[in-house]
Every structure is written in structure tokens, then in C-alpha cells.
Symmetry: C2
Subunit: 372 residues, 2 copies
């Protein structure tokens, strides 16, 4: 194998595929990148047995061949080379020679035949969406996914296509995040739960551009296809929460509030609520709605905090306890200037919604206040 | 105590003094800030029994008084308040009330009489220097100070004033960093070893401005005085290395090299030299000087690396082993485009020097190569 390519182009490819390299593994081959030539292209592949990433790029192929080299070592060396042509050769001793100006590196390689094959996927359903749209939807829901492996299905994010709308839903038992977007092309209804870990890596690869990404789903696998890059992932098995049934569609108390103002209040008050000397104890904040005013309160050994905001209110007065972190996470995922916050009783979940459309719902379960 | 002040001004003061707060202590009072009013000023003090920081600022004092409040909690709350006036009151229950628009925080306080007194200092000698100059000198030497407590004197940095020149010297047994600057005002000769920890915190407070800082030295203490801010620190006891005797003043081989080029070469080759599977083993790089050329080589289980640079050489050919990290640290501390690197024999230290002046010397001890 002998190729010549430009540093920046190769680095772009490596930045994408290294996201799929296994980090803690007893199988060194999974820490490798499979490099394969094909006419005037090379294909770079990484696969940690959950997420597989393939990247195809054109380059000058002088001799066909394939090899596996440690991904981190290879990409760090390429990253530090000058911005110019690089010659990469698999020599007779099976060392990968990297030549660039005065630098010559020879890296140990592994047998490409030992590299695990990526699953073959027969796409049953697919949609297309702009990369920046998907990137934002993932970023704004994934934080609500569970990190506990005891119920694996909730460590993923539901992708649901229904009536030409894509919904992303993440839930961890204490809160729920839902984002919706209309699809521009006609699509069949289908759904799949994609592992959170895949989405986090995918989001590092997605650009902020209007370039399309195709999301295809097969029986046990999903495929994300971009220009040069393909990501294969397993789908999580099991029954996801029937989320439509748990989101209340009535409220007893509703406030309309400047998103940044209430976010700032929650940020300050979390300093007190999370500062408890008894780390184990949870100190919820108390949210109190009176006519024209919302007050957030917290008291513990560190001190007392009170945040007052003058807002427009509808419905009953109310007192309810919350973990301020859940409010903050949701508010940070919203760009709007104003939001509705809807409450039921002091034991009902609370919803944060757009004033203008149905693009999102964030649901937060209350915490029982100590004096209850 | 009751004061009114602006958020940005108070935050600037807090950013300086929190650097002096004890981080791991069983004495909660050392995690506090002492706040004392004095006419129309407040003085903020932190002291971890090694470094004491005082900051004086004007503000609206409505009631004189003093208190101690947890430094991190207080400064985090102030940081998150809106950019406007803040009213701070010590109430009848000894809670510190912080009021700002709709926010009201009440923090537990401690008895100001329990706050340890900063040592009184009778300055014997002092110099004045621009803050940006001192900041750069510290940054460019402190990395060479030892982090091992077995020989405490070398965890500090020597400040030596001689013939109106200030020299900063740090040394850890493997390398030495020396920076010199002329003082604009006539000064008496003196010297002191300042703890590295103090200098690291001081450097976070120093600005990149031409504002002056006064460095005063007493028997056991040193004092750094800026506009609003004073830092008191203990001086390290003991005999510092007689550094002038250990820096060679002749060479057998000398190269003149583009600083960035050789730095890049060392950065790439460290990827190989530090990647050994046997983490315990040190893999030095071999530096080889031939007429018109310097080659850096490293071989271990990961692979082989060779970096060639065409440079101007003087004197004998040479082969010598080094820890590339020490070269990198020193090269990163240099701004010049070209540097001299001077070698003696393969067991003599190597020096990196300016081509143009005597502002700095970085000395690195060699490592015996395996084949020796």
C-alpha cells in the first residue's frame, strides 16, 4: 500500500473516524483504524462493536493495499505534521511509513483480516434532514436521557417519524425532553431508539451546515449517511415509554416568562441548593406562583435564597418543589425569548413549552417539599 | 455592616482575593473572605497561612463593620448577579444579606475575630517592575521548578537582584530556566526564593499591562504590591543552587535553528517517545548533529521516528540523549525566531540561548542512551 494525500484532507477524515475507536478494550485491533485503498480512494474504518464509522476520501493511490494502525497514534502524528503532502507506505516489514518533509515515522501495524466486519444493513425505512437541524435536535434532547444501565432502553433517544414529522424524545424517569421538526420529503412512519453514546459521537461529526444526512433504519441497526461518512449503530431493543400518554395536556397554573431571566434565577439559586454540607440530602427549590409573580426559594445550612420575578400568570396560586438542575438543563436547551411554564398540582409534572409553536416540550417531575 | 457597590467592581476584587483561599483545609475560617469596612472603603482579605491577599476598593459604606463569609459561595453568587448595584448587609442574625433586583441571598457568616492575622512585614529591600514583564518572566521559568517536596527550596523560584538586573531562576535537578531583565530604577542587591505556588497564584492576578508592581522582601516574608492589591507570602528557607557555577560557558558543538521548526519536531517525536507500552521505561530521543544537519531519533515498541532539520552547525559532530519534554517546555517559553543550542560532550548539559542577547538560558541535562 502506498498513497499520497494532503494533510488537511486526511486530518478531516481522521477527526471523523477516531470518534468510533474503542477507548477501553482488551482487543488492540479495536483501537485501530482500518485503511483500505480502492482505485483512487482510501476508506478509513473504525468499529468498537457498537458504533462503526466509515470515511471515504480521494487520494493518490500508488499501490493498492490495506492495513490497521493504532488510531490515536496515527491521527496525532498526522495532526502535528506540516500542512503539506504526506506519503504513507506499508513497507516490507509491515511498518506503516509516514513521510513528510524532514519527518519519517514508522508505526507498528495489525493484520487487516482481523478487523471485525461492520454489520451489513438492509435499510427498510429512511428520512433525510439537514445536518444542522439534526445536530440541534440531538443537543437539545440528549441531556435528558438516562445514564443508568439498569433500564438500557432509556439510555437511548427515540426517533419517531409520524405524519412527516420527526420527533426526538429522551427520558430518564425524572424529566423528559421532546423536540419535533417537519420533514421536507414525504416519509413513511417508523421509529427506532438510538443509543445515547452514538448520538453524542454523531453530534461531534455533524456540521452546522445545511448539507443533508440520511437516517436509515433496519431490523437491529441504524445507518447515518453523510457526504463522505457513514455511521452504523445498533438500535436499542425494548419498549420505549409511551410518552404521549404521560405529558399532561391541561394545566391549572400557567406563567409566561422571559427565558433568560428565569434561567439566571435558577442558576443563582442552584448555588445554594447544591451546596449542602450533607451531600446526600437533596434540597429542592420551592417554586411559588402568586398573581403576577413567581418566587423561587431555597433554604439549607449554607443560607437562604429568594428569587422574585414579575411575570404574567394565569390560573391558580401554587407551591411546588423541583430539582433546579432539571429546570436549568431544559431552559438551556431553549432559544426562545419567552416561554410558557405550565403546572398542574404540587405532585403533577411541570411543562416548559414554546409560546409560539409546538416544536418542543420539556417535562419535569416535582419533588415533595420537606414540610409536606 | 451595610455597603452598596457595583457588581463588576466587586467581582474584580473577588477574582483577585479568591486565589488565596485554602482549598483543602479542616479550618472553615480559611475558606472565608474577611470583609472589613474602613470609612468609604472595604478591604477583602484571604489567607491560607502561606499566601495572604488583600484588596481594597471604594464603595458606598452605609454602616461600618466586618464579617467572614465563605469565599467560593460568596463570589459565585456575586458572579451570577446582574450587572448592577448590589446591597450587602450583615443582619441581626449574623447572616450576610445580598440584595440585587429580585434576588435576595442570606449566607451564614463566621466570626471575623477568628480570622488569622496576616504577618506584619518590615520591608528591607524592594524593586519595581511592570506587571506584564514580571508575568512573562514567571511564566517562562516556573515550569522548571521542582514539584517534589523532598527538597523544598527547589519548589520555589530564585529572585536575584544584582547590578540593577532581576534574574528569575528555577531548577528541578534535570533542567534549569533563567530569565533576566534590567531594572529601570537603581536598586540594592538582594535575593529571595519565592514559593512556586505563590507565583502561580500571583500570575493569575497580574495583568498584561505596564502598571507597576512593587516587590518587597523582609526577613521571612515577601510582599507584592499592586494598585489595589497586596500579596504576602513566606520566603523559602535554605541554600539555593549556585546556578552560575553549573551553567557551562563553553561549547563543543553549536547549532542555530528556527525555534518553531525544532519545537514542532520535538512535539511530533514525543508522541512516539511517550507512547511506550512499558510506561515505567523512559525512552530518550537521540539528538545527532552532523555538518549542516540535526537529526532527532526515537525507537520503541510503538514504532520508529526520525526528524531531520537542515541548520547551521559549528564545532564537532555529536550524539546525545534527551527527554524531549524538557526541550519542549523550554522551547515553548521562548518567543525568538532563531535560537542557539549549545552542546558539550554526550554527558554535558545542553543550553538553549538567544541569538541576540543574554535575556535567557535554558539548561537541560542529557540522558544516557541505551546503547551506551
Amino acid at each position: 500500500m502506498k498513497i499520497i494525500c494532503y494533510k488537511d484532507k486526511l486530518m478531516k477524515a481522521l477527526n471523523s473516524v477516531v470518534k468510533g475507536v474503542a477507548s477501553k478494550t482488551t482487543m488492540p485491533i479495536l483501537e485501530g483504524i482500518l485503511i483500505q485503498t480502492n482505485d483512487n480512494e482510501i476508506k478509513l474504518t473504525t468499529y468498537d462493536l457498537e458504533i462503526g464509522i466509515e470515511y471515504v476520501m480521494e487520494c493518490d493511490v500508488l499501490e493498492q493495499g490495506s492495513t490497521v494502525v493504532n488510531a490515536i497514534m496515527f491521527s496525532e502524528i498526522i495532526r502535528k505534521l506540516p500542512d503539506t503532502e504526506i506519503k504513507i507506505t506499508l513497507n516490507a516489514n509491515n511498518l506503516l511509513e509516514i513521510e513528510c518533509e524532514g519527518s519519517l515515522y514508522k508505526l507498528a501495524t495489525m493484520n487487516p483480516e482481523e478487523f471485525p466486519e461492520l454489520p451489513k444493513i438492509e435499510i427498510e425505512n429512511s428520512i433525510e434532514i439537514d445536518q444542522n437541524v439534526l445536530k440541534n435536535m440531538i443537543r437539545r434532547t440528549i441531556f435528558a436521557a438516562s445514564t443508568e444501565e439498569s433500564r438500557p432502553i432509556f439510555t437511548g433517544c427515540l426517533f419517531e417519524i409520524e405524519n412527516n414529522k420527526l420527533s426526538l424524545v429522551a427520558v430518564d424517569g425524572f424529566r423528559l425532553a421532546l423536540r419535533k421538526v417537519f420533514l421536507t420529503k414525504q416519509s413513511k412512519d417508523f421509529s427506532a431508539v438510538i443509543p445515547g453514546k452514538t448520538l453524542i459521537e454523531l453530534n461531534k461529526i455533524l456540521t452546522d451546515s445545511f448539507e443533508p444526512i440520511k437516517i436509515g433504519v433496519a431490523k437491529n441497526q441504524a445507518l447515518f449517511e453523510m457526504d463522505n461518512c457513514k455511521i452504523v449503530t445498533r438500535i436499542l431493543d425494548g419498549e420505549f415509554l409511551n410518552y404521549k400518554n404521560v405529558i399532561p395536556n391541561t394545566w391549572e397554573t400557567r406563567i409566561k416568562v422571559n427565558k433568560n431571566n428565569i434561567q439566571d434565577s435558577f442558576e443563582r439559586i442552584s448555588l445554594i441548593s447544591s451546596s449542602s454540607v450533607e451531600k446526600e440530602k437533596k434540597y429542592p427549590v420551592k417554586v411559588q406562583v402568586d398573581i403576577g409573580k413567581v418566587t423561587i426559594l431555597c433554604t439549607n445550612q449554607t443560607g437562604e435564597a429568594k428569587e422574585e420575578l414579575y411575570v404574567s400568570t394565569e390560573g391558580k396560586n401554587l407551591e411546588v418543589g423541583f430539582n433546579p438542575k432539571y429546570f436549568l438543563d431544559s431552559l438551556k436547551a431553549i432559544d426562545d425569548e419567552k416561554v410558557y411554564i405550565e403546572f398542574g398540582s404540587s405532585i403533577s409534572p411541570c411543562l416548559i413549552k414554546s409560546v409560539e409553536n409546538n416544536d418542543y416540550v420539556y417535562m419535569i417531575l416535582p419533588i415533595r417539599l420537606k414540610e409536606d
